[in-house]
Amino acid sequence: MLRIRCPFCGDRDHAEFSYGGDASVERPPLDHDSREDWYRYVFVRANPKGRHREYWQHVHGCRSWLVVERDTGSHAILGVESAAGSLEPARDG
């Protein structure tokens, strides 16, 4: 059971979040016209065994999108920050 510390809501249960996939791939600017770059962004994954930066949305909580750093081998959560950046730091639930 993953427990994710939402920067706004605090320590919350797995069931409140939805997974958003790899956060390390950089989204090209909207007007960036390279099909190859968009292809790589949408389809190609490093899929590391170990540290993985990934998106989660606190969909049943404050609905913030978060960037979670998690070990894909042990499931240990190493860090959580808000995707938009501008929130106050993680606080206790």
């Binding site: 809501c9 919350r12 249960d13 069931a15 409140e16 909580g61 404050c62 913030s64 106050e88 639930g93």
Partner: protein, 210 residues
């Protein structure tokens, strides 16, 4: 609110609400009540403008912005910090301050979204209140971890709800249920409540105790 509106208004729990006692022994462990005659508007600031929003709140209500996941009560009008950049203002229906908060918000700071019809609100008290909630909600409700005034948006059997701890000592909580799910979630809560026995009180306004 005007008489006509009362007649038009229909609770999401209509047809599923029969006050009375359901308990095997004399002492029901739960006291349940639907809270009615209240209104809700959401104030949201553009990113980076939340301090101005706080200022706006202060100027209208003379209260400071609540810390994340808490609520403050400005004599009857509750401000709930439900999400980054967002506040829910909950007050008895017709409280003029809601309109003032909404109308006087500078469009350069943020925006207003009326949400008064989007939830049903139920109050849960009694010795078994925490036990009932703990059947579904994975949040530590121990008074040490969840003090009076604390709020949490969380999940109740797949449904996003807002849980508010009104009185940690007495163990009284409010649940805001999304309107379209409310009837179903209510039926589910009553089913869970059977294990504890409950008294369902007649509907009443926000200031009524459980």
């Amino acid at each position: 609110m005007p008489r006509s509106e009362r007649e038009w208004l229909q609770s999401a729990l209509a047809g599923r609400y029969e006050p009375g006692v359901r308990a095997t022994d004399a002492a029901p462990g739960l006291s349940l009540r639907e809270i009615v005659d209240w209104d809700l508007v959401q104030l949201a600031a553009w990113r980076g403008r939340d301090d101005e929003l706080a200022g706006h709140i202060g100027s209208v209500l003379g209260t400071a912005r609540p810390a994340p996941c808490t609520g403050v009560d400005a004599d009857g009008l509750e401000l709930l910090a439900v999400a980054p950049l967002r506040l829910w203002c909950v007050a008895p229906a017709g409280d003029p301050r809601l309109a003032r908060l909404a109308d006087s918000l500078d469009a350069a700071v943020g925006c207003v979204t009326p949400l008064g019809h989007s939830h049903a609100r139920v109050r849960i008290g009694g010795p078994a209140a925490r036990a009932l909630l703990a059947q579904e909600i994975a949040i530590d409700l121990d008074p040490a971890a969840c003090a009076s005034g604390r709020i949490a948006r969380t999940a109740l059997h797949h449904v996003p709800v807002l849980l508010q701890c009104r009185d940690a000592a007495a163990g009284v909580f409010d649940l805001y249920l999304p309107r379209s799910f409310a009837a179903s979630s209510w039926e589910y809560l009553l089913d869970l409540a059977e294990a504890h026995g409950y008294k369902l009180h007649p509907r009443a306004g926000p200031d009524s105790m459980a």
